[in-house]
């Protein structure tokens, strides 16, 4: 406990019972939704000499840090943020990656 309290205060977040997770949200268009940016890139690739490339999909990534009791809670919070704000579920879906920052730092 002491160990990650130290690392929590080092990155400037409130010290409590919570853990700190780094989050990567990868937003892409749902299957079947036209992706004009992706198809424009795909069409231009052969003219640049790159052949045999297909299924180009342009999305966006959003990174942030979140505090939670455990990884499960962190994941649930991020899913809620995604469905209410970071994605428009009519056209987009998100792949979420959550990593415990203490484990990542390995100290």
């Amino acid at each position: 406990m002491k160990r990650f309290q130290g690392s929590l205060s080092r990155i400037g977040l409130a010290v409590g019972v919570s853990l700190v997770f780094s989050v990567l949200v990868d937003v892409c268009l749902r299957k079947g939704i036209a992706d004009p940016a992706g198809s424009t890139i795909e069409r231009s690739l052969p003219t640049l000499g790159f052949s045999n490339v297909r299924d180009v999909n342009v999305g966006k990534t959003i990174r942030f840090v979140i505090e939670a009791e455990d990884e499960k809670e962190a994941h649930e919070k991020v899913e809620s943020i995604c469905s209410t704000f970071l994605t428009n579920p009519v056209i987009e879906e998100a792949t979420i990656t959550v990593e415990n920052m203490d484990q990542v730092e390995g100290n």
């Binding site: 939704i33 036209a34 004009p36 940016a37 424009t40 704000f85 970071l86 428009n88 009519v90 056209i91």
Partner: protein, 220 residues
């Protein structure tokens, strides 16, 4: 008494003065509603005008929908109040869930700024009660993300319930089913990509938008 229209303004909205001018030129009163306000000050109708609310960051309308003003507008809409979303305002209404579907980047990835022909598809909406079904109007469009998209089930219900308000005569942006504007189930909330408020004066090339804004003014 002339109707008072509240014109919503978010940081980055840029068509509020055009909207006010159109409303006043038709004998209505207009009042700015700032995005942080929590009430609508007793207006009779609301216009969410075009622009780039909150810089269109994340997605057009995605941040604006969380404004305090949008809570009041949602409540107003649920009680049957007339709400019109033009261009970015249409995007805000879809993000807020007050209208179905979403607006994607234009097919061809071009920002479109031109006058298009649109056809009135229903007289039964807060925007079209004073115009005949089948009438064609010339209205300006000015958007990058105007490609109306929805899933097949939503499209079916829009068609079955006669909720497509306007269609493009020649589809400029890839919108599904040539849709330029739709309304909600109770027909008091309408969103469209073309700008009727910019077509209310012959000096600007067309007066075809007048009949639409006039319908809104008499919606109550």
């Amino acid at each position: 008494m002339a109707a008072t229209v509240g014109v919503a303004v978010f940081p980055g909205t840029n068509c509020e003065l055009d909207s006010i001018h159109a409303v006043e030129s038709l004998g209505g009163n207009a009042r700015i509603l700032w995005h942080s306000h929590k009430n609508l000050s007793g207006v009779d109708a609301v216009i969410i005008p075009g622009g780039f609310a909150h810089g269109d960051y994340l997605r057009p309308g995605a941040i604006a929908r969380f404004s305090p003003l949008m809570v009041a507008i949602s409540e107003f809409a649920k009680n049957g109040g007339p709400v019109l979303g033009i261009c970015n305002g249409f995007q805000v209404l879809t993000e807020a869930g007050l209208l179905p579907g979403a607006l994607q980047k234009n097919k061809g990835l071009k920002f479109l700024c031109k006058t298009v022909r649109v056809r009135i598809e229903t007289e039964n909406s807060t925007l079209t009660r004073k115009v005949k079904k089948g009438a064609e109007l010339s209205l300006p469009i000015n958007h990058f993300e105007g490609n109306f998209t929805c899933n097949p089930e939503t499209l079916n219900s829009l068609l079955e319930e006669d909720r497509v308000v306007l269609r493009y005569c020649e589809n400029p942006n890839g919108s599904i089913n040539d849709i330029a504007g739709v309304c909600n189930e109770t027909r008091n909330v309408v969103g469209l990509m073309p700008h009727p408020e910019r077509a209310c004066d012959l000096l600007l090339g067309s007066e075809d938008g007048k009949v639409l804004i006039d319908s809104l003014l008499e919606a109550n």
